[in-house]
């Protein structure tokens, strides 16, 4: 897996850079104005786009997209596979919650502190874990991720609420964010987060260190012989992606109105990996597309599976189709076959064809 190579087509930076900003601008502008529209897309969303339920769903999708982007910086661009990314999301979510609920700090103070904590944690962890390469690193991070998860779930229930998680003191939540009528604000916060992630990662990958990161992905030893220390650039990627993840945790916390241990599980990190691969690892729009699609699917498949259409089917068919996870899993397999190298690649129709045959 660590040998994964993706043949991105040659990039002529300046040009693509420009019109990409343009493209980004359009996309994000559209997303920004969604809450103002009352169009309803039957079958996709139940209710108009400005309905709280729909906005909430979309907001979660946006957060997932942002998290996926943060993970892709590490995985897709630098070729470092971490199975512990969820621990940073957890850090953002829980440190904030605990500080608000138990130390009585203001929401923003707590969030800032949470980021600070994450910064230090990711620095220390990265410094240690990055000494082992490839799948070894994946497993070390898995180990730490699990440790955090266990800590959150059974470490000190009164502090973390154990497997029940903990609802954020509603008194600490600014009025502009509480209540269904304010879902739009949450949506915009989520959007802002995604934009931040995208800007950060795109900016970084186009920057000087970003090029080194991609080179590390391609051939680490070569980079070393060029006089660059791969370790440092990996560490940089690790910290940045960690911070972004923590930010995501905080936004997610606001969306849910509480902290939930699910983000600490290895499954959650795995789902981030899935989003990235789904959209196309290391592609400009890959992680975003993947995150949105996954977010939407994972939340609204319960609607499909619960829909009357399926309830009408004969037993053999109905059984599985009533299981959202079955639909989700099946979807992955299909996507892999019909969108090689990720959805983004499909959309961009840039799949490079080599004449090489399978032996």
């Amino acid at each position: 897996m660590t040998r994964a190579r993706f043949s991105a087509p040659p990039v002529r930076y300046r040009r693509i850079w420009r019109n990409n900003w343009l493209r980004a601008l359009i996309v994000f502008a559209v997303l920004y104005f969604l809450p103002y529209s009352t169009i309803s897309i039957p079958g996709v969303f139940d209710g108009p786009l400005d309905a709280p339920g729909v906005l909430q769903l979309l907001a979660v999708c946006l957060v997932f997209a942002g998290l996926a982007v943060s993970y892709d910086l590490l995985f897709g661009h630098t070729g470092v596979m971490s199975f512990g990314h969820g621990m940073f999301v957890t850090a953002g979510m829980y440190v904030t919650t605990i500080l608000v609920n138990h130390a009585g700090y203001a929401l923003f103070t707590s969030a800032a502190l949470a980021l600070a904590v994450t910064l230090i944690a990711s620095l220390l962890l990265g410094a240690v874990a990055l000494r082992v390469g490839g799948i070894g690193f994946a497993m070390v991070t898995l180990a730490f991720g699990q440790a955090v998860s266990i800590l959150v779930i059974s470490g000190s229930p009164q502090l973390t609420g154990g497997e029940q998680g903990q609802t954020l003191n509603s008194s600490a939540v600014p009025a502009a964010l509480d209540g269904v009528r304010n879902t739009a604000n949450l949506y915009w916060i989520a959007l802002a987060y995604l934009v931040l992630c995208a800007a950060a990662v795109w900016g970084l990958t186009a920057s000087t260190p970003g090029r080194v990161m991609r080179a590390i992905h391609e051939n680490e030893r070569r980079v070393e012989v060029l006089g660059l220390n791969p370790y440092l650039f990996k560490l940089l990627a690790f910290i940045v992606s960690g911070l972004l993840a923590a930010g995501g945790g905080i936004v997610y916390l606001l969306l849910l109105g509480g902290a939930t241990p699910t983000v600490s599980t290895s499954n959650f990190t795995l789902s981030l990996l899935v989003m990235v691969v789904l959209g196309g690892a290391g592609r400009r729009w890959g992680a975003i597309v993947g995150g949105l699609v996954y977010g939407y699917a994972s939340q609204s498949l319960t609607r499909v599976s619960g829909s009357s259409a399926i309830a009408g089917l004969p037993g053999i068919l109905r059984g599985p189709l009533e299981q959202p996870l079955f639909l989700l899993g099946a979807a992955f397999v299909l996507i892999v076959f019909f969108a090689p190298g990720g959805l983004a690649g499909r959309l961009a129709a840039k799949t490079t064809t080599t004449g090489i045959k399978e032996g």
């Binding site: 897996m1 070894g136 070390v140 699990q146 440790a147 266990i150 795995l270 899993g329 397999v333 032996g359």
Partner: protein, 289 residues
């Protein structure tokens, strides 16, 4: 004293379980470089198929039947997976992972759709349900069954990979498929074989986990997957003996730690993993050329 014996014996039982699950995983990952997230699902399938058999014919006969059925089911599903999902995706490791993740999600859901979410009770044949007295400790008989079969599997796999060409072919195939085929070898057949083998091991593990727990439920295999990965990595992917050693280490450590304190028990394995990895810095850098 008796407690120590009990812990050790059951710890080895646990180790056997881990080995059964991990060996197949290690085989597929080590030889084919495919991180198979559907492995846990294969285990669950083995479990349910085995349970169904045992549900119809009881007693020792049923036991043997369910073991065979489990193995067959695991092998069949794995072979099918390789053929339909993995093979078309060679050279696209990421997509392979994604596909196996998909199966890993879909299959348990499918099992739940068929057999329901509640765990199904598995009645063991009389002689297996009891305990054996070892130095005053009542060691459940099932544990010995697991240990026995695990050892047998270990030996079988060693022979198979050591003596046969198949292992060689697949290992070479991971590195350079084109060259292997250029030597007149149809690497795909070997790959299917290995995948099926791994699946068979998974199926076997599924049945034994069912006996071990006295029940089967859809999430069984998946819940073991993390431990399996840990064992594989500790043992070094592809090395069956290594996997065995790692399994024993994890099994015993976990068992002792559990007894010491709950929180420690939960953390013990990950601590072990982190420690080992960080101490013997396995960095996978390229060879000097």
């Amino acid at each position: 004293m008796t407690t120590l014996v009990l812990l050790t014996a059951t710890g080895l039982g646990l180790a056997a379980l881990y080995f059964l699950v991990a060996s197949g995983l290690s085989l597929i990952f080590g030889l084919m470089d495919v991180l198979n997230f559907a492995h846990g699902a294969f285990v669950s399938i083995g479990g349910y198929v085995g349970w169904t058999v045992a549900d119809h014919l009881s007693g020792t006969f049923g036991l043997v039947g369910s073991l065979l059925a489990g193995i067959a089911a695991g092998a069949a599903v794995a072979a099918a997976t390789e053929l339909a999902v993995i093979r078309p995706l060679y050279g696209r490791p990421l997509d392979q992972v994604l596909a196996t993740v998909g199966l890993g999600l879909a299959i348990p859901a499918l099992l739940q759709a068929i057999w329901g979410a509640d765990s199904r009770t598995w009645l063991l044949p009389g002689w297996l349900a009891g305990t054996v007295n070892v130095a005053g400790a009542h060691v459940p008989t099932v544990r010995f069954l697991l240990i026995g079969i695990a050892v047998a599997l270990l030996i079988a796999l060693r022979l198979l990979l050591g003596r046969t060409r198949a292992g060689l072919i697949v290992r070479a195939g991971v590195e350079d498929r084109e060259m292997v085929t250029a030597l007149g070898i149809d690497v795909r057949r070997a790959n299917s074989a290995v995948f099926a083998l791994g699946g068979a091991a998974a199926g076997l593990a599924g049945v034994l986990y069912g006996l071990y727990q006295g029940s089967v439920s859809p999430g069984d295999g998946t819940s073991l997957l993390v431990f399996a990965f840990v064992v594989v990595v500790l043992g070094g992917a592809g090395s069956i003996t290594g996997t065995a050693v790692a399994a024993i280490a994890v099994g015993l450590v976990q068992q002792y730690a559990d007894y010491a304190s709950a929180s420690l028990g939960d953390e013990s394995v990950v601590i072990l993993l982190a420690a080992v990895l960080l101490l013997r810095r396995r960095n996978l850098q390229g060879r000097p050329a």
